[in-house]
Point group: C2
Chain length 256, copies 2
């Protein structure tokens, strides 16, 4: 289905940078956090990619995504070690140099004094033409250049940095979500009424997410749209369509 249409649509992509995700060592949670954050700000997350800590891979993915979407948010690869090459890759993608940002260098000098070694100074580097993204948690800031926001990979820090991203985004109409939960019926019984209701509301997005286990099975039918009145009416319509198809017990629940 993709995102609901109708109203002003602003799009974003997430670029997750890091061998640790692709090796299975680390469970990414940043994508979900960013998706939810963007949703609240009326921005649709349209695509996500995960690439290794390899210069050409980061550059190619970043250029593909920033050409296509209104915004790109990257996570990971901005630390002090040799495998942290995101700043280099972003600068190369934009065809600009990196320079040591005086504000970051000042913060780092205050923090580290004569322990401010070459590795730590790497984290003061920002592409020419870039601007800082505040880091309220720990360590140096992220940065933004063009339509790209470069955030940390550590989830606590990433979430903190996100708070300085939202106010800079052009907002679209916020996508609202409602969920109809049906227990004791399979998706196969719900598919026809769900499709009929989806077809009657072409700007909305209706999806079915089955669950089973603990002796309970069924599906959460998720309705997403930008018009609150249409959304509320569609919930009632869907429950009625399910009942007409012999699927009873559908009820609106808190969306998760």
């Amino acid at each position: 289905m993709g995102s609901p249409t109708g109203g002003d649509v602003v799009t974003a992509a997430v670029l997750i940078i890091g061998d640790e995700i692709l090796s299975g060592r680390t469970q990414d949670t940043n994508l979900r956090d960013i998706a939810r954050y963007l949703g609240v700000h009326g921005v649709d997350l349209a695509e996500a990619r995960t690439v290794p800590d390899v210069m050409e891979e980061i550059i190619a993915a970043l250029n593909a995504l920033r050409d296509r979407y209104d915004y790109v948010i990257t996570t990971g690869g901005i630390g002090p070690t040799h495998d942290d090459i995101t700043a280099d890759a972003v600068a190369a993608a934009f065809g600009v140099e990196l320079y040591e940002h005086p504000e970051i260098l000042g913060m780092m000098t205050a923090r580290w004094g004569d322990q401010l070694n070459a590795a730590r100074r790497r984290m003061a580097r920002v592409p020419v033409g870039g601007d800082l993204v505040k880091n309220p948690v720990q360590g140096p800031p992220g940065f933004t250049i063009g339509n790209v926001f470069v955030l940390a990979g550590v989830p606590q820090i990433m979430r903190g940095m996100l708070e300085d991203v939202g106010p800079r985004l052009r907002s679209g109409a916020v996508v609202l979500t409602k969920t109809v939960r049906v227990e004791g019926s399979g998706e196969g019984a719900m598919a026809a009424p769900l499709e009929a209701v989806a077809k009657a509301h072409p700007t909305m997005s209706l999806g079915s997410y089955p669950f089973f286990g603990d002796g309970i099975y069924g599906s959460n039918l998720v309705l997403r749209g930008r018009d609150p009145e249409e959304l509320a009416a569609t919930v009632i319509e869907l429950i009625a369509a399910l009942e007409a198809a012999g699927v009873s017990g559908g009820r609106e629940v808190e969306s998760v």
Copy 2:
């Protein structure tokens, strides 16, 4: 860094299909499970993409990935509802038709009898030239065509289907992992010795994954390589290089 080189390298990509991931409704865990499974089978996960339930997006991503990597594993979008369009998209990407697979249809008829409606029959469709992927958990099988494996999105079912994927993969040399944990030092102090050791072992991959919280901070230095003797020797070399740089207490821990 990317994956270690040296030895026979077999690559794969994961294509996650589903609005529910991009809306932030669902936390994906399949990527990590697949990454670990592939690692055990000597296959490097080189890239992952997440796309919405939109035909053209799935086709474009699938064609880009299957051209480039040895294998592609997709998750999601193979249920009975209208938003489940993965089979259609895979068939379109390969330029073939879908047909109702007699084996699946037989299973479904046995299960559903005269309740086998049009929606459920959708799940019996397989691209011409495709082969089935066993589903030991619940519901109809997945399928494979060319170098693409099409699995369910529900994690329990996806993991079950994976067991029928491994035996069909050409195996590369397995990547082995060791972890050196350092507490009480920041990454900035470890960067120089870590980089020096990384440069001395160009076919290996060394990364730094900092942690903090609960009053403990430090970093897990992860070493990955295909040669077990070189890997073991490099752990000792790294701990020594850290100590020489004034970072003590590095110790090998169980890799997670």
